[in-house]
Each structure stands twice: as C-alpha cells, then as structure tokens.
Symmetry: C3
Subunit: 347 residues, 3 copies
C-alpha cells in the first residue's frame, strides 16, 4: 500500500519548530524542520548531498541550515548557499530536497509529493473549528507502531469506547443504547455516534449544570483524506439538541512515518470553563491516560495481529460500526490508484 | 523444519491459567488461555475475527471471553455467543480457533493440530511419576531463544554436566568415570548416565545418611516425542542399586514458540526430606541458578553459532554421548515427514 | 563489497588478550582470542566442531583451550588435543580454524585470509612511530555501527574538525585558512592538512612555551590499506617547520566486524610533557569525549543515511577534502577485485 504523496501532512506542531532543528520522518523520508532566525518554518531533506550527514543536527545561521559535518549551508529553497571549503565554489549538485510548507492554526503542514501540485488552498481549515467562543487548550503527539489506517479504524468506530475506555472516556453501559449513522459526501466521511440517556463520562461530569444523572452523549467524527479527523464530542440534557450542551472539539491528524508507524498529532478545544488552566491540565492528563494505556497498546497489538495494514485482505467479520472506516479505506484505495506512479523525489 | 502439529504440548502450568487470561505462542500461533468462572481451562486463537484484537487482553464473563476492543464474547468452543452491537445478530464467520485441551497433573496441555486427531490418551502420563511417595515440590518455566531440538540435545547428553555445571549439579571430576548407554523402544529414547564412585553434587550432599565421601550417581533421561523428557537423577552408596538412594524426578516439557524460540516448562519432585518447604526453596533456587547462568546462555549461544536448528546439516563431530540426541532428531524427522501437509487451521 | 581477507587486522590490544579468553568478530567470523599459560597469544575459530559452543567461554588449560560445553581441548594449531569422553579417541574432524598471529607494539594482529599467504613482514611497523623520544601514552577501542570505509572517510578528511570538534580538537575558525594536499605513493595515501595562523586547540594550548595567541597547526594522515591510519597532529610557532613544535602521534586501526560494524582501535603518543600520567589521563578523556559525543554519532548517522557503504553509488557531491578518501576507496576497490574469490575457510 504505497502512501498518497500529493497531500498536506502535519510535519510538526508549530511550537516544536524552532531555530533548533528537529527530524521527522514523513512517508519514509527523513525531513529536517527548522525555523529561520526571521521566523519562517522550513522543511528540507535531512541528508546532506556531500557526505549524507543529517542536517537536523546542524545549526541555523540566519535563514540557512549549516551541515554539522563539513559546514555546507543550505537556504530554505534547498540550494547550497555557502561552501566554506577551498575556493568556496558551490557544486551544481549541492542541493537538498525542499518540501512546500504551510504554517497555520499552530500546525506546520508539509507536502511530500510533487511540489508543482502543492496547493495551499487544500490545507484543512481548522481556524473556524478553534474560533467562535472556543479556544485551543491542549495538544500533543504520539508515535505509534501501526499503519495509519489502523489508527483510522480506531477513530472512525467509537463503539469501542465502552469497552476500551470504560472509566476514562465513556459510559461502559452506553453500548446498549448506541445509535450509529454514517454519511459520505465526496471524499469526506462522517461517523455519528449518539448515546441517549447515558451516564456522563469523566470528561464532562464535573462541569454539568444539571443534577440529572443521565444525559445524551454524542460523538461525531469527520474524516477528510488522507489523514485528517475532527471530532465533536459532547453531552446535552436528555432530548435537547447537540448545540446546547458541553462540547469538546478535537482534531486528530495522522502522518505516516512509514508503512508501519504513524505520527499522531492532536489539538483540542472546549466551549466550557474556558481560560481555566487547571481544568486544561486535568483534561490533557485524561487524554494521555486514555491514549497511552488504552488506545495505543490496543492499536499496536492489532497491528501485530494483523501482520498487514490491508484489513480487507484478512476477510474481517464486519459489524455496523465498521461502515465509516471501511468507506474511508475504500476512498484511500481509489486515491492511491489515481495517484500517478511515485514522483521521483525532486531535489 | 516444520513443527509437528498433531501432538499435545504444554500450554501453561495449571496455576498460571486463571480468570485473568494470558497469551502463549504455540508453534507460531498466539493462543489465549483462560479459566472459565466454573473452572474449565480454555484455549482460543488469540485474534478476534472482527478487528483482530488480542482476546487475552479481554475479560472472562462467566464461561465466555470478551474481546477487549469491541466486546464480542466467545464461548469455549470458539463460537461468538454475544454481540453487543446493533441488533445483536451474530455474523456467521464470527468465531475463533478452539484448541483441544487436557488438564492433568498440574499442566494444561493443548493440541495445535487437527482437532479430529486429538486423542486424550496420548497425553504423557505424569501422575505415576509424581505419586508413590514423591511429591511435586517445585516447578517453573523459561523462554529460550533456541529451537527446541537444541534444548533436546542439551538434555539428552548430560555429559555436559561436569563442564557446564561443576559447582551446581555435577562432580567436575565425574567425566573420567562416566558410563553412558542409550536405548530406543518404538519412538521412545532413553539416555542412561552412570558415574560410579563420584563426589555427590550439591543437590544431594547435605541429605545423605552416609559419611562416605564417594557415591554412585545416575541420571536417566527418557524422551517421548516430540518434546517430553523425564529425568531420574539420584545417588546411592557405592555399588548399591539405583532404587535405594536419594532421587529427584524432573519433567522437562518443551513447547516450540516458533522456529527460534522455546517455552521450557519443568516440574520436579524428590523422595527425601519431603514436606520441607525450605529445602524445596533452596532446590528451586539451585535449579534456577544452573539454568539461567549455565544452560540458558550456552543453549542460546549454540543457537547463534549454529545459525540453523538442523544439526546434521552442519556435519558435527559426534561423540558417544550424542547417540540419544541424534536418535531423537532422526525420529522427529520421520514424524515430521509422516505428518500430512500442514492442516489448514480449522476455525 | 566483500572484505579483503588477505591482510593483517588488529584482533585486540595486547593487554586485552589474557588467559581469560575473549571473543572478537573479524570479517564476520567469531574468533576466540586467548593467551596460553606460557604467554603466547592464540586466535581460534570460536565454534566447537562438536556442538558449536563458543570456545571463548571456556577455560585455558596450559596451552590448550577447553570447550565450555563438553570439554574437548584444542591446541594453538586448532587441532583437538584431548577428548575426555568415552575411550578418549580424537575424531579426525575435531579441529577448529587457526588464525595466523603476530604480536607487536602492543597489538595482536590476526590474518583472516589464506594462512599460506600470511607474511609477517607485511604487518605495519609502528615501533619507530612510538619510539624516538615519544611514548605510548593512551589507547582505546570503540565498536561502531558503520562500515569501516565510512570511518576512513571521516579520518582522511579532517576538514570536518572545525564543524564537528569546535571545542575539543579544532579551532572553529580554522576552516577559513585550511590548506589541504594529498599524495599517493603505491597504495599508500597521505592527506595533509595545514592551518596557518590558527588558535591552538584545547589539546595543545596549555603546553605551548610561547604566549603568542596564534600558531600553525598541521594534521597529516597516512593511510595504508586496508585499514591502517597514522596521524601526526601538531602545532608550531607561526612560520616554523612542523618538526619543531608539539606533536601527537596517533594510530587509528580499523577491523571490520562485518559489513555494518567496525572495531576501531587507537594508540597515541606525544613528544611533550612525557611521563606525566595526569596529562595522559586528561588527554584520553578529551579523545573519548570527542569520539563518543562527536565522531561516533555522526559516523553512525551517516551510515544510516547512506544505507550502503558504497559511497560512489550515491553520487555524492565532492569537495576538495574528499580527494584522499576517494583515492583510498578506489585502491580498496582494486584490491578487492584482485583478491581471489573468497578462500574457503581452512579448518
């Protein structure tokens, strides 16, 4: 399953891109990410064309990145701009790959495909999502030993929550009332989960105004290919519309490290007790707990048990909740097939 | 070297099979082992047919094992008995592999081959071995990075003891007097080791009635294919019959994890200072010391040096003590060839 | 890239070869190195021909090495000299590979190729190098996860020093003045590095008589195939000949462990503040710091980034400083091609 190259992927959260370069592996390629002294985020192939040193171990000098081994300096376009050796002439082949970048909403997006096709308008717009009376409160990232489609499966079928997250994120009894719907529009897929008359989960319970023991819970996931998911999860008083209650908004943004590993970035905001740092810290701890002790071990164990990311080749038994994930996999297959044979990496 | 599938292998020691499921890998297959609330040991394929979650991470509910990811419940036969999703209909393909089981003598035996051929009468009978004035005192298990036939080689040729275990299990000078005999009856092989007029080893020395410095030592190993060994080791006064002295009886039961790793289970009883817990604890510590610091590193180093489990392909120099091990390998080769092409795993 | 077998390689530093055997892997072959009780260094194939136990875990008995598993004893020629089993007859095939050895200048050299061609006169002569008013002061060894030619590249182009070693070994500003020359004579290559009017590095600064802030620095590397390098590095007052100032002499001796790993041995002497143990200790710490925190991580990262030891296949951009390393690689290629198809290991 060749990855889709012509797409925007999260390279890093903005606050992790500084004048101290870092390395990220994106679709199997090592990328050096740094910020110029004037503040621009830059992504370059992390392999000097001279002796193949990892550039991310070098120093940022103004706008340039200096190779840590022999001191060649590369500008944001990837061209060598300074050679400290001999007569200083710059060999024609002295350039590294440059990745198109868009920095927006606290995210550095990079385009690992054909630079000619990098269209800034195709970056998922998260600004509205985090505006309008909400605020970015918490964010994080994980490295997972699993193909990103196995992570997609997890996110698009939240019927796992009562079993995998009975104390952290879900009402364990909720499965009896779960109503699931899905919708596809173009290449976008929605998975709607409603649990009427359920116990509020630990995320919401302390913040409800009502003292009624039960509430309606909803969790609506939207997926845009290849790797972007947005979740609205919230509780309302029984019978009231979704728009009324407490809501948390989460972006789950996946970047394939390679065919067996995924960088998982996430951002979350809420529309209640905003500006309360203490609550933000508690919520971040809760997400971390659920992710690192529940989702991560399960996703990685499933990846081992599957032995291949190609779910359908294993002839799985399918349940109603799989509808959205299976649809997403089908769209990804089409997009992979449509994509021209892998672009030769332009240097 | 394909493993022999139609045989009983130790899945686990009985006391390790509880209502908290465990995973064992047997002949390359992950197996979930649990005990129902009514006490029955069960072995199921450790891979849910829905999303391939490892069932051993789930919960026992009555007789059923619940998948930790989406809550399907499987009964001891491997059939799905409960689906908590949607209308609760159980998809026809929702079943997992069931392994025939026999629980006896503190051991849970499982049959990874064709269930039709699983014959309970073929389980090695260890009851007599541990009865008649003896008692099970100690048991344990190790995971070894070596093909089980390399472990067999170690056990069937105890002439290594004076060199590998000079302070723990053997008289280092004993090799000069060692008399070795072997016998084959059907597919059973015996390796007899006699060391007349030897120094008693640390296992026996404190327990002898006699103050004579020398004794006769014997160590008789019986092998039944594919992986079961029973050892009688003991000391007598010089010139007296084996039946008279102090004896320890040990079962060495090997289960291939895969072609490069072995689960090594052992049980031991003795016919002296019985009911003395303190002595049992000391003896267990002595076995652990000898195994983990002497046998295990040697077996694993040999496996690395061999690079293949197929000893004969390396054209080894053979010594007299190899006769039993070579015979066992020959029998295993015949049994492998006789076994029909690998049974398609029945689900 | 098959290794060159018909050459002397460092097996170990003399002081590491004792009556407690050690294992070294040389060109992919495990070798047991020991010293007989009469003081002779011996190198044998580290794999008993009986059950393939690693002989280096055994005991030295007089001149012989006893197998730790079943007690066969091997003499320095590799022949089995004692069999403790049965009638004691020694099977004809009971021998291990013997490696020709030369011990000289604190080094145990071994010859992994055709023993008929092992010519003691071809051992690099380091005696003169460490005599004449110098003294061996420090030595050490490292295991590197990189093909030895990637280590060669590092050593033959010291223009990396101002970038990789700006505080430990070099004047970071020195690159602006670096003058590089190379010379080939037969199969020997010299790389000359001159840095006139440079700041003295931390190695020399405290020991200069002069109070002038600047000095001339030189670093002359000599390579003899396949794996031997000798470096003269020193400082003089500006404009004075190399012979006048402070000098350190270092031998860098590389032994391929296999195609991806290298044993790196080094010895160093100096011609100033001789007989000062404290200074020797400080210098050793400085070398260790530069190597383990600067060179080693860079060389290993480059090996990962290259993915192959075959530099030229990656079409590197070449700079002036690469001339010596490229020449060495070319000579190695010729020597590899000249060497007859791999000698069948004589046992």
């Amino acid at each position: 399953m060749k990855p889709i190259r012509n797409a925007w992927y999260v390279g890093a959260l903005s606050h992790d891109v500084t004048t101290t370069p870092i390395q990220q592996t994106v679709l199997g390629e090592p990328v050096a990410l740094y910020r110029t002294e004037s503040g621009q985020a830059v992504a370059l192939g992390d392999r000097c064309p001279h002796r193949f040193a990892p550039l991310h171990k070098g120093k940022v000098k103004g706008d340039y990145l200096e190779c840590p081994y022999h001191g060649l300096q590369f500008e944001p376009s990837g061209a060598c701009a300074f050679n400290p050796h001999g007569d200083g002439k710059i060999p024609q082949a002295a350039k590294v790959r440059h990745y198109p970048i868009v920095e927006r909403d606290g995210i550095v997006w990079i385009w690992p495909g054909d630079p000619q096709q990098a269209d800034e308008s195709k970056v998922i717009d998260l600004s509205a999502f985090f505006g309008h009376g909400k605020q970015l409160m918490i964010s994080g990232s994980y490295k997972l030993n699993a193909h990103f489609e196995i992570v997609l499966d997890n996110l698009l079928d939240l019927s796992h929550a009562p079993f995998l997250h009975p104390t952290t994120l879900a009402d364990p009894g909720g499965i009896a009332h779960l109503r699931f719907e899905m919708k596809q529009e173009g290449n976008t897929v929605w998975a709607y989960h409603y649990v009427p008359a359920s116990l509020p989960s630990a995320q919401f319970k302390p913040f409800r105004a009502s003292t009624e023991p039960l509430c309606d819970t909803h969790a609506h996931m939207r997926w845009d290919p290849p790797c972007n998911l947005q979740l609205d999860v919230g509780v309302t008083e029984c019978g009231r519309p979704d728009s009324e209650g407490l809501n948390i908004h989460i972006a789950h943004l996946l970047t394939p490290i390679d065919g067996n590993r995924t960088n998982y970035f996430w951002l979350a905001s809420r529309d209640f007790v905003m500006d309360n740092e203490e609550i933000s810290t508690l919520m971040q701890a809760n997400v971390n707990l659920a992710f690192t002790t529940e989702d991560e071990p399960m996703i990685e164990a499933v990846a081992v048990n599957m032995g291949t990311p190609d779910l359908m080749s294993l002839k799985p038994v399918l349940l109603p909740g799989d509808a959205a994930g299976v649809r997403a996999r089908r769209i990804l297959k089409q997009l992979r097939e449509q994509e021209q044979p892998p672009v030769v990496a332009p240097v």
